[in-house]
Amino acid sequence: MKKVAVIGVGITKFGELWNSSLRSLTIEAGTKALSDAGIPGEEVDALYTGCMTGDMFVKQGHISSLIADYGGLLPVPSTRVESACASGGLALRQGFITILSGVADIVVVGGVEKMTDALGSQTTGYLASAADQEWESFNGATFPSLYALMAKRHMYEYGTTEEQLGLVAVKNHYNGSLNPNAHFPFKISLEKVMGSTLVADPLRLFHCSPVSDGAACVILASEEKAKELRDDPIWIRSSGQASGAIGIYDREDICTIDSTVNAAKSAYKMAGVTHRDIDFAEVHDCFTIAEIINIEDLGFFKKGEGGKAVEDGITSLDGELPINPSGGLKSKGHPVGATGVAQVVEVVTQLRGKAGKRQVKDAEIGLSQNIGGSGGTAVVHIFSR
């Protein structure tokens, strides 16, 4: 089978970036990634951009044309990819498939979200558009509340504690304190998490990822091109995607995100590896409970034991299986469309051994997992040196 490599990565600072626009952020990440790959724009065969809600946050539709145009890449075919918070991961998968199909040799995959141009009061509603509008949002459900429903049940069924949820945030902030691009690059204490304002019981403010601006970009290449351009390409060993119920009410088990289980199954199979072969992972911790559920659904820990694994330090940077060395969505920030691509930027940086103070030791195989909504979409990718 053909192989696809990541030959360049670029990312902007994440945060409240008042001087940057949707287009300027995307172009900044794209330029960095193309420079990293060492290729000119003329070599680009196709462009994919993950963006969830440009239509709402900045009222910009037709993002495909905008990015190709302001990226100076006309007339390269450009496609905007949307699947809520999994838009970035899904854009990557489209790029991967495009190269596998043989129609392109070099593909640029970007992800972006410009969230702080909207008023704070509008943001909750815009993000809730990833839920079932008629039967969840209509009743007043917000995004944190959907994950809070999962958290309450996880605590009820498995004895997961508020402290364990809090420790996910503490760990990810520690990792993020070593990431200069993080939205919140500082450590926090468990007391601070537990004392923060309640958003939707049991989730407090410090259990939630922030509203961030930011963009990330990766350059994909066919095996031939990758070998020609770099001596350290990072290979995309597999891509798995699965859909799940849009509404949390229709899930078989709200403590499991079926789409992750199914996407991971495809990804492990395609890569010919098991969860035991994974050295570290970037997972979708939009809320702390999500990280606990994800590391169980990816097969790393038995259902119900994710919280304890965090408490025991297994998922810490120096633990057996580091989770979210970048700081995760919690500390690094969560510009929704950018997230899935930013995860890949981190995995590639780690596999290249260039992650500096947050470098995972002996990182050879890494995994990224990106979720849309409360689990309606999941995308899992596996990478190796």
Binding site: G125, N139, T142, L149, K152, G247, D250
Partner: protein, 131 residues
């Protein structure tokens, strides 16, 4: 928001009408055009759901979108209907401290939200504690 968007869902929201697949003997809410189990080979019919159930999970929302701002804090829950599916609903007329997983609840008819000052008023089901 246009009136028809809410008007067309009235039977389901006011009376808790769901869908029933005769082939799979399974009930769904909200209503579905085709059965997700047997797909087109099934026979989907409207069914009146029981107005009683128990709390499967819940949370109290303290940060809400503008149209629900006046109601905060409010509780939402996943409710396992008697002989029926899980549905999402607000809980109302209750002390937040009394809300627990496993508590029995029953449906009531309430105002859900207002679409601004001049827009329509949305009504539908909420649930109250039955014990």
């Amino acid at each position: 928001m246009s009136v028809p968007r809410f008007w067309r869902e009235i039977p389901y929201r006011y009376r808790l009408i769901g869908s029933y697949c005769e082939k799979c003997n399974e009930t769904f809410f909200p209503p579905r055009e085709i059965c997700p189990r047997c797909r087109r080979s099934g026979d989907i019919k409207d069914i009146k759901l029981e107005e009683e159930g128990e709390i499967f999970s819940y949370t109290v929302i303290r940060t809400a979108p503008p149209e629900f701002d006046v109601q905060t804090p409010y509780a939402i829950a996943l409710i396992k209907l008697k002989n029926g599916p899980l549905i999402m609903s607000q809980l109302t007329d209750c002390e937040m401290d009394d809300v627990k997983i496993g508590k029995k609840v029953r449906m009531v008819f309430r105002k859900i939200s207002e679409d601004g000052e001049a827009g329509i008023i949305n009504y539908g089901y909420k649930f109250v504690l039955a014990e």
